[in-house]
């Protein structure tokens, strides 16, 4: 861990209690983010990306348990903090943009009321007293920063009066209004049409660059990761399977899952529609033993069914959780 490490998630487990037992969603999840870094978190729907983020902010539902792990932010383990300390982290420390902006905005309050509440609370967490006028001004500024026209009128409007794109911008504005060190963007713009999604992503990129905010960008779209991130984590069924600097990951995908993912991206030139990865994500109630990917893995070995692989280092900042890259699997590796 270097000095510039902002967030360090170590060995995180999250379980949900449901009918029939326990859903072991996250198992040994780990990731880290440095100051000013843009980190991507990629994986298919249901692999636990949002759960990880909610665990970081401690906003998981009541049925969730965190039996294992640490989430260290600026030197303190979030999992052990009390409400007062937590409220200092949420907002000014770590902030989040939710996947569905319509659901994330309270329908019976105006945009202004919600935005000003967020601003007021981040100010008080920092120990400042903020008069109403100033909070209002900051709200106006936040909306201007996300390129929304006529912010005064918007502040008086209700979410139902805004378009999907506007709501997404508002929710970005809200997240950034707290001046966070780390921004978590959970699949921003996926509920919108592609051109607007592109605008939204560009907006996030420029804002983040301007303010030197670190970002965890969650997405299931590889193209987005390639363009916007410095480093990537590839996640499958509750833990990271591969991580590397972005260009390196695309140049040398090492984990069989990552390789499969990259093959599934349809290419416009030569190739046509690609093949998917056979099989489906595991049942978290009865997850596969050992490496959770082994039922779908074309290179599965006997050991993969028994033991969960730990990270093997391929290169500088490039690690894979796969027995193919450990001593045992050396001979099985593809060139």
């Amino acid at each position: 861990m270097t000095e510039a490490t902002l967030l360090d998630v170590r060995n995180l487990s999250v379980h949900f209690s449901v009918y029939g037992g326990v859903l072991k969603v996250l198992d040994g999840m780990a990731l880290s983010v440095r100051r000013g870094e843009k980190v991507g978190l990629v994986g298919e729907t249901g692999c636990g990306k949002t759960t990880t983020m909610k665990a970081i902010l401690r906003v998981l539902p009541a049925t969730a348990r965190t039996p294992d792990g640490e989430i260290v932010f600026l030197g303190r383990d979030i999992l052990t903090l009390g409400p007062r300390d937590l409220s200092q982290i949420r907002g000014p420390g770590i902030s989040m943009i939710f996947q569905d902006p319509t659901a994330a905005l309270n329908p019976v309050f105006t945009v202004g009321e919600q935005l000003e509440a967020v601003i007021a609370h981040s100010a008080s967490a920092a120990g400042q007293a903020l008069p109403r006028r100033e909070a209002y001004q900051r709200a106006v500024t936040s909306l201007q920063e996300v390129a929304l026209a006529d912010p005064q009128r918007l502040l008086k409007s209700y979410p139902v009066q805004l378009s999907g794109g506007m709501r997404q911008r508002v929710s970005i504005g809200m997240a950034l209004a707290t001046g966070p060190n780390l921004l978590i963007a959970d699949e921003p713009g996926t509920s919108l049409d592609v051109t607007i999604q592109d605008q939204i992503l560009r907006l996030i990129q420029s804002l983040v660059n301007e303010k030197h905010t670190s970002v965890i960008l969650i997405t299931h779209t590889l193209g987005v990761v390639r363009e916007l991130t410095d480093r990537v984590y590839v996640m499958y069924a509750g833990s990271v399977v591969e991580t590397a600097r972005t260009p390196k990951l695309f140049a040398q995908p090492s984990h069989p899952y990552t390789q499969g993912l990259l093959k599934t991206v349809p290419r416009l030139t030569g190739g046509g529609i690609a093949s998917g990865i056979p099989g489906r994500i595991p049942d978290y109630l009865h997850p596969p033993s050992g490496c959770r990917f082994h039922p779908r893995c074309p290179h599965a070995m006997d050991i993969c069914k028994i033991q969960k692989p730990s990270f093997s280092k391929i290169d500088d900042e490039h690690e894979v959780a796969c027995f193919l890259y450990s001593e045992k699997g050396k001979d099985r590796r593809e060139p």
């Binding site: 949900f16 449901v18 009918y19 029939g20 859903l23 539902p61 049925t63």
Partner: protein, 301 residues
């Protein structure tokens, strides 16, 4: 055995296994709240008591024309567990028989009310926006616009006061709720793909209504029905409280409370025990109804 027969048998086995799994899951969801099980126990007990009333009560004759002034107004004791009323009749026995008529009324009212109410709701929801919808729902609204109890009282007072007319009165005020409930569900469901698929296949209207839309409303209707038993019992007791239900000498919980009100506070048991009986029965059905609702609710992670 031919291939088709083998496949058919396999499908049946799978269905059976699926149903068993569903049953298990339903019971899990139902029993997760111990209070629901309490409700189930209460309801079953009450039903058994009501059905076997003449055999389980100490003084079955007291439920009819019977007087015993020597033992009138006896406080609760060993012989008369809940005491006797002003004519000397055992209150415990009368409560059980009163439960009988309450349950009977509830069952019959629901039997009368649910089929037409649901049917009208299905129709109105399916033909939403057309004159069918308008007519049905406006009539429903008229009935709903009347303060519910008033309508029941008005009808019951115009006719001869007895159990059947009381039931008729309550039924008249009840059916619109089912129509409205099913209307909402039906008009949502008719836009679902499986309905469009059926229509494209050219099935009859009845098929769409009863075999596509109706099964999807069953959970809401059943939940409402179980909670409604409790409400009908309450409304029924209110009606008999003012003398518009079962007529004396037959016992009914409401009229027992009304009689007993006159003897407060000295012979408090005459009013209090029937009141408690009402509370317990209604609570049982409510708990059961809540459990049924939990059973149908989907879980979220």
């Amino acid at each position: 055995m031919s291939e088709i027969e083998v496949t058919a048998r396999r499908i049946r086995e799978l269905e059976r296994a699926f149903r068993r799994e569903n049953l298990g899951r339903s019971w899990y969801k139902f029993s997760r709240n111990p209070l629901s099980v309490v409700g189930l126990v209460l309801v079953v007990t009450v039903i058994l008591l009501a059905v076997f009333a003449p055999y389980v009560t100490p003084f079955p004759k007291h439920a009819g024309a019977f007087t015993d002034f020597r033992h009138a107004k006896t406080p609760p004791g060993v012989m008369y567990l809940f005491g006797t009323d002003q004519i000397g009749r055992d209150i415990l026995t009368r409560i059980v028989f009163g439960l009988r008529s309450s349950l009977l009324m509830a069952v019959l009212v629901l039997a009368i009310v649910v089929p037409p109410g649901v049917f009208l709701g299905l129709l109105a929801g399916y033909f939403r926006g057309t004159w069918v919808d308008v007519v049905i729902m406006r009539v429903t609204d008229i009935f709903l616009a009347v303060p519910p109890l008033i309508l029941a009282l008005a009808v019951a007072s115009v006719l001869q006061p007895n159990l059947w007319n009381g039931m008729l009165a309550v039924s008249l005020m009840w059916w619109p709720w089912y129509t409205r409930l099913v209307y909402g569900l039906s008009s949502q469901l008719r836009n679902e793909y499986f309905v469009a698929a059926a229509e494209v296949n050219g099935v009859s209207l009845w098929h769409v209504l009863f075999r596509e839309i109706l099964p999807n409303t069953v959970s809401s209707v059943l939940t409402k029905m179980s909670l409604d038993v409790a409400w009908v019992i309450i409304i029924g007791s209110m009606l008999s409280f003012v003398g518009l239900g079962v007529q004396p000498p037959e016992p009914s919980l409401g009229s027992m409370v009304a009689d007993g009100a006159r003897y407060l506070p000295d012979q408090w048991w005459i009013a209090v025990f029937p009141s408690l009986a009402i509370v317990v029965v209604v609570m049982g059905f409510n708990l059961l109804g809540d459990g049924i609702r939990d059973m149908f609710a989907s879980e979220q992670v």
